[in-house]
């Protein structure tokens, strides 16, 4: 197949799709395949990057995401099922879960932060238990449909069983919660950690402990340099 043919096939697949959302990573399109609605996740080359950097990020991220989704599906973690992947076009086809993001649902008060946090934490625990870290577990990346939670967007996920990388997921959820749901962030985060513990048991506390150290890695946190505290006063 010459690349012209390849482009034609890709454009056939995407031609009748409509845009669902434009994210930071990709454009999500919805199209129909035999009356079955599917999502086309299309990684556009970022126009603000060097073309070679943009292309290599798009291809590599598509390959990795496809692999990870396959394993997530195989382990029965609630997520969209992957249907196909065309890395050179930056394209992944997957099941469409027609629901609302956890972020919207929380903002509209349609879900109790305590329940939501717990389920979100349980799911991340299951992801970690199979050697994967999500990489971007914000409340925008959970979809709720018929009261079921689904974790989406494995675009930044990695294969890892390192404590440090798992701690990054916990840290990211906590900070996203503080940044976007400040009003009830405490409850949300607390129950997230409970859910995480429920899945991973005692090991969870090690991850959570490391996550609090990560928060201190940010610049200018007073606690980081307790030795200097005396100099804080002029």
């Amino acid at each position: 197949m010459v690349s012209e043919d390849f482009r034609r096939i890709v454009s056939r697949i995407t031609s009748r799709a409509r845009i669902l959302s434009v994210g930071a990573e990709s454009v999500l399109l919805v199209t129909k395949l035999d009356n079955y609605k599917i999502i086309l996740k299309f990684r556009k080359m970022k126009p603000y990057m060097d073309p070679e950097l943009a292309k290599s990020l798009a291809v590599l991220r598509t390959i990795k995401e496809s692999k990870i989704m396959t394993i997530i599906n195989k382990n029965g973690i609630p997520s969209p099922r992957i249907l196909f992947s065309l890395p050179n076009a930056g394209l992944i086809g997957m099941e469409y879960i027609e629901g609302h993001t956890l972020k919207e649902t929380l903002e509209q008060g349609l879900v109790d932060p305590r329940t939501a946090g717990r389920v979100a934490g349980e799911i991340i625990g299951r992801v970690h238990s199979i050697g994967i870290v999500h990489g971007d577990p914000t409340t925008s990346n959970y979809i709720i449909k018929n009261n079921n939670f689904y974790l989406i967007d494995y675009g930044l996920s990695e294969f890892s069983d390192k404590l440090e990388d798992r701690a990054v997921d916990i840290h990211l959820f906590r900070r996203a919660a503080l940044a976007t749901h400040a009003k009830y962030a405490d409850v949300l985060v607390e129950s997230f950690l409970d859910g995480y513990r429920a899945t991973l048991g005692d090991y969870a506390d090690k991850v959570i402990e490391r996550a609090s150290k990560l928060e201190l890695m940010g610049r200018y946190v007073a606690e980081r340099r307790t030795v200097w505290s005396r100099q804080n006063y002029s």
Binding site: P137, R219, W228, N232, S234
Partner: protein, 338 residues
């Protein structure tokens, strides 16, 4: 209302005089410490500041054509920054406040950078990319404060560029004819594969990139290519996290602030990224990207007008690690000048 703002967190001792009415900026005096070689030593900066501080205040009043009795308040950056440098600004501010009975308003340096960017860009509720020698932060307002969405996990963007330039023998001086030496060197450079592009969720990391760049130089790889790749990856990853914040919060304005915000390539990337999301982006004047006293005075007026009466001189204590997400901003969504 007229405020005098004092900035002394890093290499610039700045005194700005600002009115809450047009033409807003009445005086803007800056003295920048430039080491003849190597990096900045806090003690040397403080030594230099102490010799020019009095002159800077006098010159600012002269430029504004005002006497000290015409001022309504003194604003001072109490952190974050280098302790010895901060102490000079704090001492001058405390003295002026005590001697003339003027309210003394403590200002967080990062908040001041955000407020001057909101002012110049006319951006009410933007996603903020704040990049300087010591800071790389992606922040946005939520529930009473600017919240940090992402940041560097190790070194700051400005520090990355400066350290590389110094180690590669390109600097000092770091800025030549308004451009960073890494930018000048990157001209005509090609993209090199296998340099680490590290974005972890909402955070960036630059230390691996710095190591890789220096090792490549040692191996004899073309310095123009190394500079181009280093800058391309560093800027792209910071802009990518800004993009994530924009997509996550669905806000529709973007601003750049901090010393590295004067960089035209970074502004170009921010502009292209904003267009993708139909967000408004307006670069701020180069002159006001870096540290200055004007932004401190602006933030001081915003705080004072929102009911903060100031602190006693003896309570104006510096804080080297004062995070901007620890500061309440009750004036939000007001922009300076409103």
């Amino acid at each position: 209302m007229v405020a005098l703002g004092i900035e002394s967190t890093a290499h610039t001792f700045g005194v700005g005089i600002v009115s809450d009415r047009k033409p807003y900026i009445l005086a803007d005096i800056r003295y920048k410490y430039t080491p003849s070689k190597g990096g900045i030593l806090p003690r040397e900066v403080a030594q230099y500041f102490s010799t020019i501080a009095g002159r800077a205040v006098r010159e600012a009043l002269g430029e504004a054509g005002l006497g000290i009795r015409d001022l309504s308040l003194i604003a001072v950056a109490l952190g974050p920054g280098m302790g010895p440098a901060l102490r000079i600004g704090a001492t001058v501010a405390r003295a002026l406040s005590a001697a003339y009975g003027l309210p003394l308003i403590p200002v967080n340096h990062g908040i001041a950078h955000i407020e001057i960017a909101r002012f110049f860009a006319g951006a009410r509720d933007p996603v903020i990319l704040y990049v300087s020698g010591g800071t790389t932060v992606i922040a946005t307002y939520s529930y009473g404060r600017y919240r940090i969405f992402g940041e560097t996990l190790d070194i700051a963007l400005g520090n990355l560029l400066d350290t590389f330039a110094r180690e590669a023998g390109l600097a000092p001086p770091y800025i030549v004819e308004g451009e960073h030496v890494v930018d000048l060197c990157a001209r005509g450079g090609r993209f090199l594969r296998d340099f680490p592009y590290t974005v972890k969720g909402q955070d960036v990391s630059y230390s691996g990139l710095l190591t890789k760049a220096l090792r490549s130089l040692a191996k004899g790889i073309d310095i123009h290519d190394v500079c181009y790749t280093l800058r391309e990856i560093a800027f792209s990853s910071a802009i990518e996290v800004t993009e994530r914040c924009l997509a996550h919060t669905r806000k529709n304005q973007v601003v750049l602030t901090g010393g590295v915000a004067a960089n035209s390539i970074l502004n170009d990337k921010a502009s292209r990224m904003s267009k993708l999301h139909h967000a408004k982006f307006k670069p701020i004047p180069r002159r006001y990207a870096g540290d200055n006293g004007v932004m401190i005075a602006m933030a001081g007026i915003l705080a004072f007008k929102s009911g903060l009466n100031g602190v006693k001189p003896e309570d104006a204590i510096i804080n080297q690690r004062w995070r901007l997400d620890r500061v309440d901003v009750p004036w939000f969504p007001r922009i300076f000048g409103e």
